[in-house]
C-alpha cells in the first residue's frame, strides 16, 4: 500500500461539527487509543474489574497535534460549544477502525519555544466494542 504523507495508516479523520470527515494526519503528532487488555496476565484479577470488563467498554482516545488554523483547528474549535458525536476513523490497508466519539476538550498551549500545540481527549459514545474490519 502506497504511503500517503509518510503514514502507512492511510486515514486518520475526525468529523467536524457538521459530520464531515476531515483528514487531520498532517497536523497530528500523537494518537492514542486506550482500551482494556483482553488478556490479563496477572493472576487474581479483581473480580469486580472483570465483571466490569464484561459489562462495560472503557475506551478513550487522545489526539495531539500542531496548531493549524485551516484544518484541525476548524474541526476541534467547536468541541467546547457542541456535544455532537464525531466519527474518528483510522485505516491501514484494507482494515478500518471507526468509532463514534465524544470529545471533551480542545486545549491549545504555547510552548517555551513558541510552538503552538493542541490536545483533544475523547471517549467512545456508544457501547459497542471498537473492532478493526474491512
Amino acid at each position: 500500500m502506497a504511503k500517503i504523507n509518510g503514514l502507512a495508516l492511510t486515514t486518520l479523520s475526525v468529523d467536524n461539527s457538521a459530520g464531515t470527515p476531515v483528514d487531520v494526519r498532517n497536523d497530528v503528532t500523537n494518537f492514542e487509543f486506550a482500551t482494556p487488555r483482553a488478556v490479563q496476565e496477572t493472576t487474581g484479577v479483581d473480580k469486580s474489574a472483570m465483571e466490569r470488563l464484561l459489562l462495560l467498554a472503557d475506551f478513550s482516545i487522545t489526539l495531539n497535534g500542531v496548531f493549524n488554523a485551516v484544518t484541525s483547528h476548524l474541526v476541534f474549535r467547536t468541541v467546547s460549544s457542541t456535544s455532537v458525536l464525531r466519527t474518528v476513523s483510522l485505516a491501514h490497508a484494507s482494515q478500518t477502525l471507526a468509532n463514534e466519539c465524544l470529545f471533551t476538550d480542545y486545549s491549545i498551549e504555547r510552548g517555551d519555544d513558541g510552538s503552538l500545540t493542541w490536545e483533544s481527549p475523547g471517549v467512545l459514545a456508544d457501547g459497542t466494542v471498537p473492532t478493526w474490519g474491512p
Binding site: T29, N30, A34, T35, P121
Partner: protein, 148 residues
C-alpha cells in the same frame, strides 16, 4: 505530554488498560515551514493583534514589532488603553509553522492509559504488526463481552 485537559474519568483500573499509540513527534517528523508552504490565512488576508504597552510582555512585543520585525502595520489606541495592530496581507505572520517530513510513524503499545503517561512502550516495526495486535485485542474483548 501530560497537560490539564477535561476528561471523562476512566472507570477501569489503570492496571487493566493498555494504549495503542501512533506518534509523529515534531522533533523527528516535522520541519519548519513558511507561511506560503502552509497557505497561512494570516499571510493571505492580514491579521490583527492587541498589545498592552503597560505590561512587560506588551513592551517587549512592541519593541520587537516596531524595531525588528520588519512588518508593516497600522496601530490604533483603544479605549481600554491597549493598542490594536493591523498587519497588511502578504507578510509572514508571527507563528512558527511546520510541515510533515513524511516519515513513518512510531507504532507503540504501552501499559496503562493517560493516567500513566510515562509507562514503558513496546514498538512495532510496522503498522501491520501494530494493527494485528490491536485488532486481536479488540476481537478478544468483543468475544469476552458477547459471551457474558
Amino acid at each position: 505530554m501530560a497537560r490539564n485537559v477535561n476528561r471523562i474519568p476512566s472507570r477501569m483500573p489503570v492496571k487493566h488498560m493498555q494504549t495503542f499509540q501512533v506518534t509523529m513527534p515534531v522533533s523527528t517528523h516535522r520541519r519548519p515551514a513558511t507561511c506560503t508552504e502552509v497557505e497561512c490565512p494570516q499571510q493571505a488576508r492580514g491579521w490583527k493583534m492587541k498589545i498592552d504597552l503597560r505590561t512587560d510582555l506588551g513592551q517587549a512585543q512592541g519593541q520587537y514589532i516596531k524595531h525588528q520585525s520588519g512588518r508593516s502595520y497600522v496601530a490604533t489606541k483603544l479605549e481600554d488603553g491597549t493598542f490594536e495592530l493591523v498587519f497588511e496581507p502578504g507578510q509572514t505572520c508571527f507563528a512558527q509553522h511546520t510541515v510533515s517530513l513524511e516519515r513513518e510513524a512510531n507504532y507503540l503499545v504501552r501499559k496503562g492509559d493517560h493516567r500513566t503517561p510515562g509507562s514503558k512502550a513496546r514498538r512495532h516495526v510496522s503498522a501491520e504488526d501494530w494493527v494485528d495486535e490491536f485488532a486481536a485485542n479488540q476481537a478478544k474483548l468483543k468475544e469476552i463481552i458477547e459471551k457474558g
